[in-house]
């Protein structure tokens, strides 16, 4: 199957693939927010989509179009940022995961930057269905290959554009980065009080005008960014087999059996 985006396939093609054992389905979640002067507002969506596409291709899966509008952090007050309230987004994502199961997918993955969604939704999904879905946090998945190459998150975001064939948009972003650097610009600082309080915990914030979480300060290398995404997706592929085995184990076990210790023991009674 040369297409992996579920909207690009007729149902009978999907059915044939499912009958042959296809059961991986990936739900990417993005956002629209100000990140850097050289980054498109939908940069996180592009990363989520590119990662989902790569993982679907490498792991014989399908992926949904990204959910493009979700909660954002401090950029909420900046023009054009679309900061959607968390609870309705979580309910939508959870309902989509449920329907993915209902329509026959067994290995279900959520790909997101959202802390809440990637933790609670798979866990609650398991509690209700006794089927394990996996929540992939993009920061975690991309961190090690990004560090290894000594590049910034902006390179990964621009790498996603490259992988998605968005060459014109990529050129626009690179041009904006060059101009920013040539003009000697710098991002406005975060409020001092905020910088102080976050030394001890987490506080809500609205970024001041002119502040960018990802200004173009370091080396920008979209090719290396694309490599990061490829490597991060490839690293997850073996775990897809583990997810299958885990769900088969859960199905064999029959019920939760926490009190019987079933969670911790294999069929021979050994600890797992």
């Amino acid at each position: 199957m040369h297409r992996r985006l579920i909207t690009e396939l007729p149902s009978r093609v999907i059915n044939k693939w499912q009958v042959q054992g296809g059961d991986v389905c990936i739900l990417p979640v993005g956002s629209v927010e100000v990140l850097g002067p050289h980054l498109p507002m939908g940069a996180r969506t592009f990363v989520a989509e590119a990662f989902a596409k790569l993982l679907a291709e490498a792991g014989d899966g399908l992926y949904l179009p990204p959910v493009p509008l979700s909660p954002v952090a401090g950029a909420a007050g900046l023009p054009g940022t679309v900061d959607v309230s968390e609870p309705p987004v979580n309910r939508l994502l959870r309902a989509l995961l449920d329907d993915m199961l209902k329509t026959g997918f067994r290995r279900i993955l959520l790909v997101t930057y959202l802390d809440y969604a990637r933790y609670y939704l798979p866990v609650e999904f398991y509690e209700d269905h006794e089927v394990a879905a996996a929540g992939i946090h993009l920061n975690e998945a991309l961190w090690r290959p990004t560090e290894k190459r000594g590049i910034g998150n902006d390179s990964v975001m621009l790498g996603a554009l490259k992988l998605l064939g968005r060459d014109e948009l990529l050129a626009k972003c690179l041009d904006a980065a060059e101009r920013w650097k040539a003009e000697g610009k710098s991002a406005a600082p975060l409020p001092e009080a905020y910088q102080e309080v976050i030394k001890i915990g987490v506080a809500g914030v609205r970024f001041p005008k002119g502040y960018y979480p990802m200004p173009p300060t370091g080396v920008i290398d979209p090719d290396a960014g694309a490599e990061v995404l490829r490597e991060a997706a490839a690293e997850k592929v073996p775990a897809l087999e583990d997810l299958r085995a885990y769900n088969e184990y859960l199905a064999r076990r029959g019920s939760r059996g926490f009190l019987r210790g079933g969670w911790f023991r294999d069929e021979e009674g050994g600890a797992r």
Partner: protein, 269 residues
Amino acid sequence: MTDRGTAGVRALGDMLPREIEAYFDEGGDLAILPIGSIEHHGPHLVNGCDGYITLAKAQEVARLSGGVLFPMISTCWEGATNVYSGGIGVRENVFVDYLLAVVRAVRKAGFRRILIINSHGGNFYAMRVFPQHCLRETGLAVMTVYGSAGCEEADHARKEGVGEAASLLGALHLLGQDDLVNEIVEYTRKAIEEFGDRRTVDPAPASMQGARRLGVVGQEYFEEYRHAQPDSRQTDPRPGAELIRKIARHIVKHLPALAKHVEETEARD
């Protein structure tokens, strides 16, 4: 989001921060929000059929109006096609709650006029009541548009045979996805071989017809070709593309009144 069809379109996901600031500085205030669905569309059409038609329509509205095209919300309530593979949807109230939160966020982001475009029949009733629901719950006046948006020219073209398949092919052409057009034409050819050309849909079971005399009853599309019948006349993207352009021109012609409507309605609320 694609480079292929977005020339001359302000697509929010593709915009840099300075571009969206400049849009607002110049007095821009129009958000165009497409809604899609993921559901079975016969043996030959792709599951994203309604979404692609909506996105192409929204893209043409954005091109003609200068408004900002939002990334599409690709899922909503699915409908009577649940038995077929790859359809993904949510309960209507889950979707409506999400859309309400999105509308709030879109307004906070700086947009005053919000135009929601939908082509999914299963979403028709929900989107018909949504503007009033939204006004009641948030005090915000938004507009939803469905199908041909009252465009007589488009309705005439539909009667002349420009159906869903032709609209899909036209949409994909406008979105720069001619490779997928070719694949769908091939799916159509094979489906015609299997099911026949423009096959007549079998009548619903007698019990269902009887129950329907009471009103709306739950149902499934019990033949694979019930939702959309393979049709050899609908394999050319051009009539569908023209239909979409007509609808977009018609919508844009009426958009100036939306600003006044928003102002008057919210002032009264």
